[in-house]
């Protein structure tokens, strides 16, 4: 059986792979969306923080024998802590200025992080093994599905929806949203808004690091791995609507699927299809698919 001239088995497997890549986009763009939505900072260091997550996991395994599961918790905490320090010492000073300043600062930081890791570890990249429990794959009939990739989808979706739930449905989330709408009044009600903002940035960064650990067994752990991905993720955020939580999750998954299909029908265009969609969305709905016009 064929769908548009492509065997249906290949079609199905490409959809599945699109979903897997989409879950990476979702978790990375979610972090960006949170940081932008609540702090008004365009976090260009997101790719570097993703790379650091992967490297921390690799260092933990090779130098200290710390396994994948521990690293999955530890690396986001450590990289998140780095984020907290950055927010307290640098980003904090920029909130009242134009977006451009935050963008320039975080872009500079990204270059510095990448440079330091390149100097220390070289550029060829390091191999991180797939954890024992998740090795091998299952034959789905239409494709051989590595178990680890399945785990990536499950873990990413769980974290994404957990985050969405926390921000949209809990009291902490309500404080956060209120704190960004009108910090003075929330502060007057006895809530420590600056602390809340620091926590938010740290959490957004931790999400990037979490994605980095998830990616480590799939891609070579290399200082340049983040800069290859970050531009696409920014496009995802723009398409979803800057700052929209659910928008970034749904758009991330959706664009993963679109990209996967492009790779079958017209592979040369697979790197630009996301930007093509971005242009159309910006023309038709300038605030993004899920954004609210301001």
């Amino acid at each position: 059986m064929e769908i548009f001239g492509v065997p249906s088995a290949l079609f199905g497997s490409q959809l599945l792979i699109g979903l897997i890549n989409g879950s990476f986009y979702a978790i990375l763009s979610l972090g960006l969306a949170i940081i932008f939505g609540l702090l008004n900072i365009i976090n260009f260091a997101h790719g570097a923080q993703y790379m650091m997550g992967a490297f921390f996991a690799w260092i933990a395994l090779t130098k200290f024998g710390i396994n994948y599961w521990v690293a999955l918790l530890l690396a986001p905490v450590l990289v998140g802590a780095v984020g907290v320090v950055l927010e307290r010492t640098m980003l904090r000073r920029l909130y009242k200025l134009d977006h451009l300043y935050g963008l320039l600062l975080t872009f500079g930081l990204a270059l510095i992080f990448e440079g330091v890791f390149r100097d220390q570890f070289g550029v060829s990249g390091q191999s991180y093994p797939v954890p024992e429990q998740l090795q091998g794959g299952v034959n789905l009939g239409f494709m051989f599905m590595p178990i680890y990739r399945g785990w990536v989808v499950v873990a990413a979706l769980a974290v994404c929806f957990g985050t969405w739930f926390m921000i949209e449905k809990t009291k902490l989330g309500a404080y956060l949203r209120a704190g960004t709408e009108n910090p003075q009044i929330v502060q007057a009600l006895g809530i420590n808004v600056p602390l809340l903002i620091t926590f938010t940035y740290g959490y957004g960064v931790a999400l990037a690091a979490f994605a980095g650990v998830l990616a480590a067994p799939i891609y070579q752990v290399s200082p340049l791995m983040g800069s290859n991905l970050i531009i696409v993720v920014f496009a995802v955020v723009v398409i979803g609507g800057m700052g929209s939580i659910m928008g970034s999750i749904v758009t991330g998954l959706g664009l993963g699927l679109v990209e996967g299909l492009t790779r079958v029908f017209y592979p040369e265009a697979s790197a630009v299809v996301v930007f093509f969609i971005m242009v159309i969305v910006l023309l038709v709905r300038p605030a993004g698919l899920f954004g609210r016009a301001t």
Binding site: I20, V123, S124, P129, G137, N228, P267, E268, S270
Partner: protein
């Protein structure tokens, strides 16, 4: 042409006869070697600091062996893979610092820029790192030596040998830019010429990080061999993901440009059973082992073919300067071209009129983890590709030096 050749030969002989005691012909009584390479970027593991070390070793060995009457010095710089930085540096070296030869020059764009300046300033350019064939074709000149390998040899080596060994059906995974397309085109021609068949190809964007979609298309093609017409991180990521999706070892991969540093960073588990073409393998014989172990002691990594070629080219250059007692570019080039190269890197290597150094290349297959007995025990050498077969024949040359 004949007159010119005769004249050159006559001059060389005359100079060689006069050489003893004629060291005044070496400018400043010092031969200065410039290493212009990528010290921090994408190719720094392939060339970079290891190439600088190889140059130092060549100079030390030359001084110990020849006890020359002149001094030998080395300078090095990072060209950051940028043609403008490379040409500025080369010009500064040639004009103000008395550098006699610019060497290494990984990344074709830097190589093409520097070889023009070398010609203009009448200095020698020794190229170990760059891959592209225009260096000895459209852009060729008489002061440049392309030493270690080129894209023709890579395509020709791996594709020919794999097809002849029964890998008849190919599918290409190609980086969608000039280098990848050229490699695919050359390799396809070789596959077909050897009775094989190209079932298809997929062009992936450069750079890409997820190859699973492309790999599944390669898998669905049913090809025995998946040719990787890409390089660096694209190649290593594609190889890892091929193993992840159970594509290897059922189908085999052929990396059309792979260095031992790539295999090292991938690990044998991911790279096992792959074919690749290389100009040098450290564990080939006693000579290569002896040199490579010295290199390893200082660098903590085994040499890539670029680094080994760098040593050999610098040593060959210094021996030529010593033999004729001059560092004048055309005389040194004539001496280098007329002397065969015999060292641990090349057996009976020779530099042709177009500047191509031809030597045996090797078809290697990456070992499985079980087959590897000690660190860096990575390759089976499956075949030696004789120099005449490995490189583009002069009859196909597009170099103006050949046509007249």
């Amino acid at each position: 042409m004949h007159m010119k050749k005769l004249l050159a030969a006559a001059c060389t002989t005359a100079v060689a006869t006069l050489a003893t005691g004629a060291h005044a012909q070496i400018s400043g009584d010092t031969v200065k070697i410039g290493v212009l390479t990528d010290m921090s970027g994408t190719y720094s593991d392939v060339a970079g600091p290891g190439a600088v070390l190889a140059t130092q070793m060549a100079i030390e060995d030359f001084i110990a062996e020849a006890k020359p009457a002149f001094k030998v010095e080395m300078v090095s710089a990072d060209h950051q893979n940028k043609a403008d930085i490379a040409s500025n540096k080369a010009r500064e070296w040639f004009e103000r610092e008395g550098v006699d030869t610019a060497t290494e020059l990984v990344t074709t764009s830097t190589a093409l820029a520097v070889m023009k300046i070398a010609k203009e300033m009448n200095r020698v350019a020794l190229m170990s790192g760059p891959a592209s064939t225009p260096i000895t074709n459209e852009q060729c000149n008489d002061v440049t030596v392309h030493y270690t390998y080129d894209t023709y040899a890579l395509a020709n080596g791996t594709a020919r040998a794999v097809t002849q060994q029964g890998g008849k059906n190919w599918f290409f995974l190609t980086a969608d830019y000039a280098f990848g397309q050229a490699l695919e085109k050359d390799s396809s021609a070789v596959v077909v010429a050897n009775g094989g068949k190209v079932l298809g190809s997929v062009r992936h964007p450069f750079p890409a990080s997820d190859f699973s979609s492309f790999l599944l298309q390669a898998q669905a093609s049913g090809a025995q061999i998946i040719g990787l017409a890409n390089a660096g991180a694209d190649t290593t990521n594609a190889i890892r993901q091929a193993a992840e999706f159970g594509i290897t070892p059922k189908q085999q991969l052929a990396g059309l440009l792979m260095f031992i540093s790539d295999v090292h960073s991938l690990g044998l588990k991911n790279a096992q059973t792959m074919y690749l073409t290389t100009g040098f393998y450290w564990d080939f014989d006693d000579d290569t082992r002896a040199w490579s172990k010295r290199f390893f002691e200082k660098h903590k990594r085994m040499p890539t073919m670029v680094q080994a070629g760098q040593y050999s080219s610098v040593l060959h250059y210094l021996r030529a300067v010593n033999a004729i007692g001059s560092d004048e570019a055309s005389k040194v080039m004539a001496q280098m071209k007329s002397t065969p190269i015999n060292d641990f890197f090349a057996k009976n290597g020779r530099i042709r009129e177009d500047g191509r150094m031809v030597h045996d290349m090797y078809l290697a297959q990456v070992k499985t983890p079980e087959e590897s007995k000690y660190p860096w025990d990575y390759y089976h050498i499956r075949a030696t590709i004789p120099a005449e077969e490995a490189f583009q024949p002069l009859s196909e040359s597009r170099c103006p030096l050949i046509k007249n």
